[in-house]
């Protein structure tokens, strides 16, 4: 007896095509977080506050303790917000270079290192403040550029 082979019809083709589309849709997931306006606002706000604080470092640390605490809190909120976002490891690692002193990375923590320096010396020279501002600007701009480059 001859085996009967049914010719492919339009319905079968449609079914295959839709299956293929479903496959692509499910596998084409993002590997990095999407753009987040709140994160962008937090990092740009923190940049402005940090640069204003660093300007004050030519004055005595002891008279600016409250300012340091307030800015550190702003930075902490921005960092924790980004750290809690899924698929956001690169941004978190960027934040760590800026805000976290890691035991296995002695150069990490640009901001806390500056605060330690200010605390230790009580007054920072105008030239060092200028350099610190340039470097902090560069660090924040890296974070901002990374957020801006994300898919909207």
């Amino acid at each position: 007896m001859r085996e009967q082979v049914r010719p492919p019809n339009a319905g079968t083709a449609r079914c295959y095509t839709i299956s293929l589309c479903c496959f692509f849709l499910t596998t084409a997931c993002s590997t990095i977080a999407n753009y987040d306006q709140v994160a962008y606002d937090k990092v740009t706000g923190a940049k402005a506050e940090v640069l204003t604080l660093v300007d004050k470092a030519t004055g005595s640390y002891s008279s600016h303790i409250k300012d340091v605490e307030a800015v550190t809190l702003t930075l902490n909120k921005a960092y924790e917000y980004d750290r809690g976002r899924p698929l956001n490891q690169k941004t978190t690692q960027l934040w760590e270079q800026l805000f976290v002193k890691k035991a296995d990375d002695p150069n990490s923590g640009i901001y806390p290192r500056f605060i330690d320096l200010w605390k230790k010396e009580d007054v920072v020279s105008a030239k060092a403040v200028e350099t610190e501002k340039t470097q902090l600007t560069q660090a924040f701009d890296d974070l901002i550029a990374t957020e801006s480059g994300k898919k909207r």
């Binding site: 849709l25 640009i110 020279s125």
Partner: protein
């Protein structure tokens, strides 16, 4: 049976890849040059400031550590931007394939 134009899909994907990755490469080259120039200038300025005693040893050490941290940040930023481009490419390929599939079945 519905026909999917594989040649057209390949052409579109090649066009997308050429445009996205060319942009990424050009941006990386220009950013890399700017970063190197900035770092070189910072090192020169630091050496001068230290020599003229405009900054203390502790301030010099702090700025030097910052330069090393910024180098890591530059690398991380580039990696993130490359990852974003790969995601855009994947999305673009999905769009192309879906458009071709829907055109073939006339949805």
């Amino acid at each position: 049976m519905a026909n999917i134009d594989i040649n057209e899909i390949e052409k579109e994907i090649a066009k997308l890849a050429a445009s996205l990755f060319k942009d990424l490469t050009n941006q990386a080259i220009s950013d890399g040059k700017a970063y190197l120039a900035k770092t070189k200038q910072q090192l020169i300025d630091l050496a001068k400031d230290k020599a003229t005693k405009a900054i203390t040893q502790a301030e010099y050490d702090n700025a030097l550590s910052n330069i090393k941290a910024l180098a890591k940040m530059e690398k991380l930023k580039r990696e993130a931007l490359a990852q974003e481009t790969i995601d855009k490419f994947t999305d673009g390929v999905t769009d192309i394939v879906l458009k071709a599939a829907f055109a073939a079945i006339k949805i």
